[in-house]
Each structure stands twice: as C-alpha cells, then as structure tokens.
Amino acid sequence: MSSDLKIALRGVHKQFGKKVVLDNIDLEVPRGKSLVVIGGSGTGKSVMLKCVLGLIRPDSGEILIDGQDSMKFNAAQREESLRKFGMLFQGSALFDSLKVWENVAFGLIQGRSMARDKAKQIAIEKLGQVGLNPDVGELSPAELSGGMQKRVALARAIAAEPEIIFFDEPTTGLDPIMADVINDLIKSCVQKLGATALSITHDMASARKIADYIAMIYKGKIIWYGPASQVDNSGNEYVDQFIHGRADGPIKMDILKP
C-alpha cells in the first residue's frame, strides 16, 4: 500500500435489487490532491461517495482511508474516521431550524464539544473566507439565495479543517458566474487546508478548474482516469463524448425516439 494514497477503493461493488450501481470499482485519490469524478446522472457517482463516507455499505470490496479498511471499522473507529471528512452536499443540506452561524459551527459544537462562543468566532471567520459578512450568520438558511447557501455549506465543510473534503455536484443549480465563484472558493479552501478533495460533477468547467486528476464513471465502472490536463486528449470516446456534451456517441441515453 502506497502511503501517498489518502483514499483507495478496491473492487467496490454495490447493487440495489438487480440494479448494479457500482461494478467492482477501483479508484485512488493521492494525498493532498483533488480528484474529480465525472459522469452522467445515475451512473453511481453519489453512491460511490456515500460508500466512502459509510452512509451506504457496499456489498463487497475494500475502502481504504489512510491505508485502513473503513468497512472493518467499529462504531467508535467510524466516528473517529468521520472527523477527517468535510462534505458539501448537492442541495447544501443546511439545517433549516438553525441560524447560518450555527450551521457552520455545528460540527465544532456537537461533534467536537467546543464552547459555543469559540465555535461562533470560528464560524464567522469561515463565513468570511467564503465571502460572506458576519451579519449573514444571524440569518436562517431559508433567507439566503442558492449561491449563498452553497457558500455557507462550503464554510460548514471546512469549519473543522478536515483532511478530506467531498464535493457533491458543487455547482449544480447555480448561474455560470456564481458557479465560477464557488469553484474558486473550493480551490482556494482546499489549497489553504492542504486537504485531499474528492468531487463528483457533470459540470466540465468545474471539473477543469478544481481537479488535479479526473476519473470518468460509466455504468458503475471507472472507464478512464488521468491528470486533468490530459482529459481533452484522453483517447477515450466515452470521455470525448461526455466532455463535449454530444448526443451522438457510445453513451446512449435511455429515451424513446419520437
């Protein structure tokens, strides 16, 4: 096992009923690097991410975090392992019963038993890092725009200064300018923390901006993996079709022709 790998998936298989979602996937994320997994809707990206987090249990395979198989963790080890992670959810997943600053400080107060005053200070500081002023902290999530909610979710993901950050479709539903703002923030936050990042997206602009490495998932398999700079010359017709957004190609959509 190379010590340069922060996360490694070995033969991970998951199916729901007869539908195979992850088909013996192998994937590696080098320490301190940003891997973006691209792929269409329903190809297994989110399930893969949730398997790594332990939210879904794979049917077979190994998921190694810092060389340790997370599928063999007991409850205490899993809890300890989760402290290494931060995650930005696709829909932000902010707790609507809490104020914005309480959302950002949630992991510090509940997960790490930090005093509320100190946690609030850190939350305000993290909100500043994502370009939001302290007043926003007193609002409720429902009062924020989609872009602001994403920024709050990013602040929450980095609040505990995790070693690994997951980004689930970070730019979905945002206008192109706000999407670029979020991409810049993701890049700067990950670099500042020196964290390992694993993102899933079908937004190629986002992938190009935040990735060191890109992998493509199709029908539950990783069909291409390489440096982000080589994605345009991958030599893989599936990747070419996807990154250029062409309807014609080896990837067929399950839609009825009129």
């Binding site: 939210l55 809890e79 989760l82 959810f89 997943a93 707790f95 992991g107 997960g111």
Partner: protein
C-alpha cells in the same frame, strides 16, 4: 400471479416491516441511555409535544367529559341510578377516554409533524449531513423525541383528566341539576389511585409509540415531497392503530381478574 404467492409476499413484507420497526425501536431506546444527551433538544421536544398540544387535548377532554355526563345521565335515569354519573365520568375519563383520545389527538398532531420534519431532513440529505458532522442522527433526532414523548404525555393526560372531569362537573351541576358539593364528593370518594395511574402508564406507552413511529416513518421516507407526504400519513395511521392495540394490552395488564 399465483394467489398463494401474493399472500406469501404480503406476509413476508409484513414480517420484514415488523423487523425494521423493532430494530429501529431497539436502536432508539439504546441511544436514550447512552451519552451524549441533548438536553436542550429534549426540552424543545417536550414543549412541542406537551405544551403546544395542550389546547387541542384540553378541548377534546372538556367536551368528552361533558358528553359523557349527558349520556350517562340519560342512560342511568332509566334505572334511577343518576347518582352514578360522577363516578362513571371520572372512571371513564381517567382510565380510558383521557389517555386514548388524548393519545390519538397527539398522534395526529405530533407523529405527523415528526415524520414530516425528519422526512424532509432525509430527502434533503440533512440526516446524511449530521453523520458527516460527527453527530449520530439516532441520538440527535430520535432519542430526545422518545424521552419527551414518555415524560410529557402523562403530564398532558393528567391535565386532560382534570379538564375532562371538570367538563362532566359543569354539565352535571349547571344543566342536570346536581349539587356541586355532592358531585365533587362522589367523584373523590369513588376515584381510586389505580384509575389515574393506569391512565398515566397508558399515556407514557402512547408517548413512546408516537415518538418511535413518527421518527421511523420520517427516517425511512424517500422520493421527495410525495414520499414525505406518505410518511406523514403512515405515521398517523400506524401510531393510531398501535395506540388502540397497546391500550387493550395495558388495560389487560392492570385490570384483568379484578
């Protein structure tokens, strides 16, 4: 399809559902007794379950007591046994109508609210977010509601008992011509501690059922707004049926052979 296969499938689904609810209940109860304990959340749930249910449960008890006095008077007058009104009202309210009708009203109000709130958290990934923030969702969402249900329902039903008996008193003294002092004396003389205690034990059991079933359906909701709506309906229906079933067994436990 073979009819026997259909019956078998339904039966297996039923057993599977019982297994899932039992496992969920066991996990929920286990987290009630293991730290960390979320006292502020528990107090908030007590307010939601108890204080905010007081108007609806109080009105239900008041009019039930009033109707009970009228009906018993009409029935007992056929046998010249009008003096039985006071003790039948207190017996009926404390043993059965207070806890059962109160429990059903709270099931309608609270189980649905719990299922809707937790169900929305499920479909918007807020429950997954709790896990990634090192917070056990069973401990954070379910345990406080179970404690609040068990503690608050008996207090609520005790108040409902008093209001229900008062309803009977008002009708008896102002409409049916009973002497106020005699009515109160009859009520106090005939009421036994067991009448009240059995009702309060029932209330605690109903509180437990309401919390567990509300949380279970919320936790297992899926499919967006429609799924949350279904979870809400299922929570109310199954909590109400379980309350009626549990009522029989608790009554049997207290009064069989007496």
């Amino acid at each position: 399809m073979n009819p026997l296969a259909i019956i078998g499938r339904v039966f297996l689904d039923f057993l599977s559902a019982i297994g899932r609810v039992s496992l969920f209940t066991f996990q929920g109860v286990r987290h009630v007794f293991t730290p960390p304990f979320y006292l502020p959340l528990t107090i908030r749930q007590m307010m939601v379950i108890g204080y905010y249910s007081l108007p609806v449960v109080g009105l239900t008890a008041l009019f039930t007591g009033m109707v009970l006095a009228l009906q018993i008077y009409l029935g007992s007058s056929r046998f010249n046994a009008e003096s039985a009104v006071a003790w039948i009202v207190v017996l009926g309210i404390t043993r059965e109508l207070g806890p059962v009708l109160g429990g059903l009203m709270v099931a309608g109000r609270v189980a649905s609210a719990m299922a809707a709130e937790i169900g929305t958290m499920r479909v918007t990934e807020q429950i997954d977010a709790l896990t990634t923030l090192s917070t056990n969702p069973m401990k954070y969402l379910v345990a406080p509601r179970i404690i609040a249900g068990i503690v608050t329902l008996p207090i609520l039903i005790l108040v409902a008992d008093i209001i229900g008996v008062m309803g009977g008193y008002l009708v008896s003294t102002h409409k049916l011509g009973f002497n106020a002092a005699t009515y109160i004396k009859n009520t106090v003389d005939f009421m036994q501690t067991l009448d009240v205690v059995s009702g309060l034990v029932k209330a605690a059991v109903f509180g437990f059922i309401i919390a567990v079933i509300g949380c279970y359906h919320g936790f297992n909701s899926k499919g967006g707004a429609q799924g949350v709506g279904r979870a809400t309906t299922d929570a109310v229906v199954s909590a109400s049926i379980l309350i009626l079933i549990a009522n029989y067994f608790v009554t049997e436990l207290f009064f069989s052979g007496k």
